[in-house]
Amino acid sequence: MSDVTRAYRRRAGGGVLTTLTWLLALAFFFPVAWMAATAFKQESQAASDPPTWFFTPTLDQFRAVLEGGSMVYVGNSVIATGVSTVLVLLLGIPAAYALSIRPVEKVSDVLFFFISTKMLPVVAVIVPIYVVAGQLRVLDNIWTLVVLYTAMNLPIAVWMMRSFFLEVPGEVLEAASVDGAGLMRTLRSVLIPMVAPGIAATALICVIFAWNEFFFALNLTASQAATVPVLIVSTMTSEGLFLARLSAAALLASLPVIIAGWVAQKQLVRGLSMGAIK
């Protein structure tokens, strides 16, 4: 086989693989595109057999979703996601420091403990949390969700940030301590700036999981503290199947995380692999 034919074959093979990749990408993306399209339809076009492929887009569904007092839910979701993520970082950064830079004894025991709390099925603790929250009168209170979301994301965040901290060269920290910088100072002016991308990755993962969380929100909130996922479900059950409006609500609810994930793809990958990439 001459070099020319080999190169030609490789290009042809590459073409097949590229086509295959694009087909798979379109297949995986299609449901989201269909949801987005449905959100711009009238109800009669949304649930039609055969499916409506061509239509004049309308903003009616988005208007209906936004008019229905949904801002309360959005506000709750923003508080639960934002505050819990900040708390995770405030608690997690010093902990990751203590498990990496100047490690305490029994590091692997502590790490094991943190990750083991993720193994604890959420359902196993929902009953007492519900009963105790009822006795403390903090059911349907957004701060209850803040505390639970912080606990939900903290273990994974500690693991991630620890692996980012381990990548900081020891000499830099020695230099800081020779210059007489204390813990807070070292954290603030040396360490945190160096691991900022890792912290951003961790925060992004925490935001995704908190924003999308449904189980706690369903069981521990009612009218006051309900979040966006609860809004979608109540839209679904209270008004029957208005598919177009439901699609608009689902699209709006998913959009913040989708856009954040698209923009920060690199951080997302680093976060997911728990900083295992060198």
Partner: protein, 315 residues
Amino acid sequence: MSTSTIGRLEGSRRAARKAASERATSRAEGWRRRAPLLPALIFTVIVTQLPFLVTIWYSLRSQNLLRPGEDLFVGLSNYLDIAQDSTFRQTALNSVVITLGCVLVAMVLGIVLALLLDRPFFGRSVARTMLITPFLVMPVATSVLWSIALLNPTYGLFNWTLGLFGIEAIDWTSTYPIVAILMALVWQWTPFMMLLVLAGLQAQPKDVLEAAAVDGAGPWRVWTSITLPHLRRYIELGVLLGVIYVVNTFDQIYLMTAGGPGTASANLPFYIYQRAFLGFDIGQAAAMGVVVVIATIIVASAALRLIFRSFEVKE
């Protein structure tokens, strides 16, 4: 007493004082090291461990929120009920099928997609962006999308597509509920696996691959002897995290099938939820929670040992 003895005594006393002060410094140093860890540790213990202790307490009692007066210590009878509960066994099996099915299929698809994406081609970043999107969509929205827009028997897009090939309409969520749930879960988790494996592929040392090529190793040889071993810990991490999250799947089951028909597609989280929040049977639900935790700990410690080995956590 001779002066030399006194001198020796003085010396040993000084040594003891020095040792004590060193111990004090090292203890202080130990606390300085521990202090940054404590807030996170204490918070996690309080929020995650205390409720579990309360779960154990409830599991030994007969308490039904519909009958407020009744709250008795019943010993292990809740556990005996579970042992005889065939629904519990079925939902446990469903949990295993759904978790393993989703994680394994998503991982295989994820590896294939990662390999396809790990080569230069036109519009690669757009294709990757499209492929990661399912992971970012809110699971509640995913459930609505799959159960209504795609799998609905009358106007769902899936049956319409099958109809083009002359296949009759199938009511997916009631005829094949677990398959329907798996479709939605695999769709959602494949991007997660793909991103992890892609990270692994891109972290491969290029010089090793070049050296292998120079030594005349073919693509298959390079894949099995270099790439796959290198990917191993990424794959293990993906499986571990996937299992942690998928075993707790609730949204898709609650919204797509409500565990039905009957309890055919209920997993343990959904069944326990039903007992606690629809049956208000606190004692039973708590006992099931404890059983699930014990089972999870057994599986998880085996899995964690694996992952710890591959991460080589140093003391």
